[in-house]
Symmetry: C2
Subunit: 247 residues, 2 copies
């Protein structure tokens, strides 16, 4: 039980970033039966077309939701970090409309739909919190759509970096303006709807403009104000409270 509480703690932290639970509710979440599994890098955890009977939480590492078009082009919809439940929507959608793959080696925890529904029945406020979570996901989709539809590559990349570090910081997974960036340039390309080559060019520009430094997977924001202006970033859509947002 203590073991399980340890495993699920990033999930609790994430849920608590949006919703205030009672001690009893937290205990109920921590008591969820969870099956921990290690997943290698670049593996699908679930696939489009699956009819899963369980959700999974990311206990450590990063993952991404994506879809592949009929002609083989890939679009990422979201990048996920520790504490998130990327396929929470599978709880209600019979057939999965998208796949989710690891970006790094991950520890994931599987939780059956049945256990989640049971939890929701006895604790209606937890159901409300899970719904809220999926609504925030929807808000982020709207922002990504705006980003890809209306901004040029340079602004898209700046926006993505702003969001990424803001989300990490809101969960205490990054300090200051420096963090890990676990995606390859090709993955960034498929998140922003541009080519890999152009990602490289844009990164070069962001560097030479003194906005960021990116060496290997280490991202450092050198000019936060400049980057937020370039990406027209306003964290409102992330639904963080004051404390979690960057000043």
């Amino acid at each position: 039980m203590l073991e399980e509480l340890h495993h699920i703690s990033p999930v609790l932290r994430k849920l608590e970033s949006l919703f205030a639970f009672s001690g009893q509710e937290k205990a109920a979440i921590a008591a969820l039966p969870i099956q921990v599994q290690a997943i290698r890098i670049d593996q699908d955890v679930v696939r489009e077309g699956d009819r899963p009977s369980r959700c999974f939480a990311i206990l450590s590492g990063s993952a991404a939701t994506y879809k592949v078009t009929a002609v083989g082009r890939r679009q990422f919809h979201a990048f996920h970090i520790a504490g998130e439940i990327p396929d929470l929507h599978s709880l209600q959608l019979g057939v999965l409309d998208c796949s989710i793959a690891t970006l790094t080696p991950c520890q994931v925890g599987f939780i059956t739909h049945e256990a989640i529904w049971q939890l929701c029945c006895t604790h209606p406020r937890i159901l409300k919190a899970l719904w809220l979570q999926t609504l925030v996901d929807g808000s982020i989709y709207r922002e990504w759509l705006t980003n890809v539809g209306q901004r040029q590559a340079y602004g898209r990349m700046a926006h993505l970096f702003c969001e990424w570090i803001t989300r990490l910081r809101s969960l205490g997974l990054a300090r200051e303006y420096s963090c890990d960036l676990p995606m390859t340039q090709s993955q960034l390309a498929d998140a922003l709807g541009i080519s890999t080559v152009h990602v490289n060019r844009v990164l070069k520009d962001l560097r030479s403009d003194g906005l960021i430094s990116l060496q290997g997977s280490r991202l450092e924001i050198l000019d936060w104000d400049g980057l937020t202006i370039a990406g027209e970033f306003d964290p409102l859509y992330l639904c963080l409270n004051e404390r979690q947002a960057l000043s």
Copy 2:
């Protein structure tokens, strides 16, 4: 009461397209206190930054969710039709992250958050249905992101037309392969992330390829198979059941 039932009936039809309600549940939904109001064309019903205390359902007409970037570029996220509740997410998100405007004159019905929560408390399955509705919205966002991020203008437009008529037909709002298309070319442009001029050229191509006919606001699909291939359209993400999907 009979009057109200009449008003809310498109909403019931929409909810029932995803979820099977009991007679009691349907009666409870029909009994929701609803304030009907006519809205002129091209008016915001709610605006980004609002903190609404009520949702609105579209009783007749069409509307669209959108956002405007810092430099004044507009992105539509969804087109809404009669029966939908475009700002259902406002039930949980304190501050609205997007605006919703009418595309045609509309009859809308306002329902207070309080009344909806009360309904959800006494009828947990209705809460589940509303959550499901927002999850399907999320699924559609993912598809739009894929459309805008990975397809060329021609395919994007084809995909949009396929989705539009499929959704209309699933609610019995269109017959065969012909329907009303209430958006201007400039609005289509902002939904697809392309310029108005290019929308015009793409429409010209779709016409000359014999896929569609579009005169005024009357859209007719002349070659459904061809259009679905051009738009790589697979209605899975709309979560319709067999009967509602086009054969």
